[in-house]
């Protein structure tokens, strides 16, 4: 019996034998954009994303941010919706902070972006500390189970810690990059205390993941070497190793969404113990080729990705697309420990037929072991 998409993906993640290159495709930017604009092809009107991927013979990646929710004790959260903006205000006995985000369902990514962050000055440290000390992480799996049912054996529901590792949460969610680096330099003790508080919350999330049916939790997302290299060895690698070791002890695999410029992070990755680097986005979107990455990591890390998002766009001809894919196969031959996918999504103007084309080329040339 042929392996299912899910079985193939998990086998590659576990460094086990597979029959052909696994393919886990992510198309939510394309799907959400066209659904929001009513511009899905007639054939696909009223189809869900997974059915479209089935039609293209591709394995599915369905995103689900996390299987927990946040609740607070002894503080008030006031939310004001002014579409497309949302302002969240935390009112605590030691002061208030607020955050403004923007979310436009007509745009593909369906992620709220921060436009104004809670931390404005060092006066806000006690407030953020209070919020973190009064946060509870509560399991919430109902929507995850629905998505699992929708995907079945035809792919994977990608879920885990949410977007960020503990220090990334401070860099991105609470302070913002600019203030983070200034504060880490000027007030390191206060930033590191927030880090300790975030790590405590991260432990709760890991415990929920450990008890859940999630096979391969996502530990964090969106690295970029120009931002993260200076802090990776001290604040990212140790936590990722600890999280990976813990989840491994519970029979799980681990992955990170590594879709940014990775060049200077490549050597550090091996210290993390993470099994899979997903959303790998090679040149020309970043400066590293898949061949260079494979050489650096050997068989220690399974790579999931390899097709830069822009290759799906009309600016590249069908011939150029095929040539890119066939070259990718050469770079990863004999094909072990590799899962084909997008770096990191099908763009809104990407050609959905090229997803099916990848599946065709895998059927034709992607049987493992591929000739080297």
């Amino acid at each position: 019996m042929a392996m299912t998409h899910k079985a193939r993906i998990l086998a590659a993640a576990r460094k086990r034998a597979v029959d052909k290159l696994p393919f886990g495709a992510r198309i939510d930017v394309w799907y959400n954009y066209h659904s929001g604009h009513n511009t899905l092809a007639k054939k696909y009107e009223d189809w869900n994303m997974v059915d479209i991927l089935r039609d293209q013979s591709a394995g599915a990646q369905v995103r689900h941010l996390c299987i927990w929710k946040i609740e607070y004790d002894d503080l008030e959260v006031v939310i004001k919706e002014d579409p497309p903006f949302k302002t969240t205000k935390w009112r605590t006995p030691v002061g208030n902070v607020s955050m403004k985000t923007v979310f436009t369902p007509q745009e593909g990514p369906w992620i709220a972006y921060e436009v104004d962050l809670p931390f404005k000055s060092s006066k806000d440290y006690p407030v953020i500390e209070y919020i973190l000390e009064h946060t509870r992480i509560v399991p919430d799996l109902s929507e995850y189970y629905q998505k699992e049912k929708m995907v079945g054996e035809d792919g994977m529901v990608m879920t885990g810690m949410g977007m960020y590792s503990p220090m990334q949460q401070i860099m991105r969610y609470w302070l913002g990059y600019e203030k983070f680096f200034y504060e880490l330099h000027d007030n390191p003790a206060q930033v590191e205390w927030l880090y300790e508080l975030e790590k405590e919350l991260a432990k709760k999330k890991l415990e929920i993941l450990a008890e859940s049916p999630v096979e391969m939790p996502v530990l964090c997302s969106n690295w970029s070497d120009e931002f993260h290299t200076p802090v990776f060895a001290k604040y990212f690698a140790p936590w990722l190793k600890e999280a990976s070791d813990y989840l491994h002890s519970k029979g799980k695999l681990t992955q990170v969404h590594a879709d940014g410029e990775m060049k200077r992070l490549i050597p550090f990755f091996l210290e993390t113990g993470v099994d899979v680097a997903e959303a790998w986005s090679p040149a020309p979107m970043t400066s590293v080729t898949t061949a260079e990455l494979r050489k650096a990591w050997g068989d220690k890390v399974t790579i999931w990705g390899g097709i830069p998002a822009i290759m799906f766009e009309p600016q590249y001809s069908d011939e150029e697309f095929d040539a890119y894919i066939l070259n990718l196969f050469k770079e990863v031959a004999p094909g072990y420990n590799f899962i084909v996918g997008m770096g990191d999504n099908l763009p809104f103007d990407g050609k959905i037929e090229r997803v099916g084309r990848v599946a065709e080329l895998i059927d034709k040339y992607g049987s493992i072991p591929m000739p080297v």
Binding site: E226, F227, T229, P230, P284, I310, E313, F348
Partner: protein, 211 residues
């Protein structure tokens, strides 16, 4: 002749206290404020830009250098008011319509401002119409546009076409950047330049001005 190497080095190291101290020292030696800006501070920032592009420096290095330069400018600004410090060129910059990512644009603004360009930052989610209005109003040498997601990249081409329709295309050089943007895309939409990062943007914009 004033030796600015220590000041440049303080900027490159991102040491704001040393930078301020060095500025005070060269002022006491009789250096002209405009010369301090150009030969000391800007020269340091240009080196920071080169080191960023080469991979030696990271974003925090750039941020600290920018902070050091800004702290020094606080001392020099009152003295510069009457001296008419010359800027290299004027740049209007923004993120295109529908795109609210600003970090890349902000970094490029810091680099270019540090290197001596006058920056007019239109912010994020800037429509073609607003870009055209800004070009009419400010007569910049360069229009910089960034797009950080593929969904918003069409805004770059739309703006270039809007500049053509308004008869402004020949009056300004268009430089673009952002994660999904490539040289190929830049060539296809008719941009004059493509920058991979803030450090590269300095070199690119200086070359454009020199032409």
């Amino acid at each position: 002749m004033t030796d600015y190497s220590a000041l440049q080095w303080a900027v490159i190291q991102g040491d704001d206290k040393k930078t301020v101290q060095q500025v005070k020292e060269v002022l006491e030696q009789g250096a002209e404020p405009a010369e301090i800006v150009v030969s000391g501070l800007r020269a340091g920032m240009i080196t920071v830009g080169s080191k960023f592009s080469s991979g030696e420096f990271f974003v925090p290095d750039m941020l600290f250098a920018a902070r050091a330069m800004n702290r020094a400018l606080e001392i020099l600004r009152p003295r510069l008011a009457n001296s008419g410090t010359v800027t290299i060129g004027r740049v209007v910059i923004g993120t295109v319509a529908g795109d609210i990512h600003d970090i890349g644009k902000n970094l490029v603004s810091v680099f270019l401002g540090g290197a001596g360009f006058e920056i007019i930052d239109l912010g994020t989610n800037v429509s073609s119409e607003r870009f055209v209005t800004a070009v009419k109003r400010h007569s910049p040498d360069i229009l910089g546009m960034s797009a950080l997601i593929t969904t918003t990249m069409p805004g770059i081409e739309a703006t270039i076409k809007a500049l053509e329709s308004a008869g402004l295309r020949r009056r300004v050089r268009v430089v673009i950047g952002g994660a999904p943007v490539t040289q190929r895309f830049a060539d296809q939409v008719g941009a004059d330049g493509y920058g991979t990062d803030g450090g590269a943007a300095i070199e690119l914009c200086r070359r454009i001005i020199e032409r």
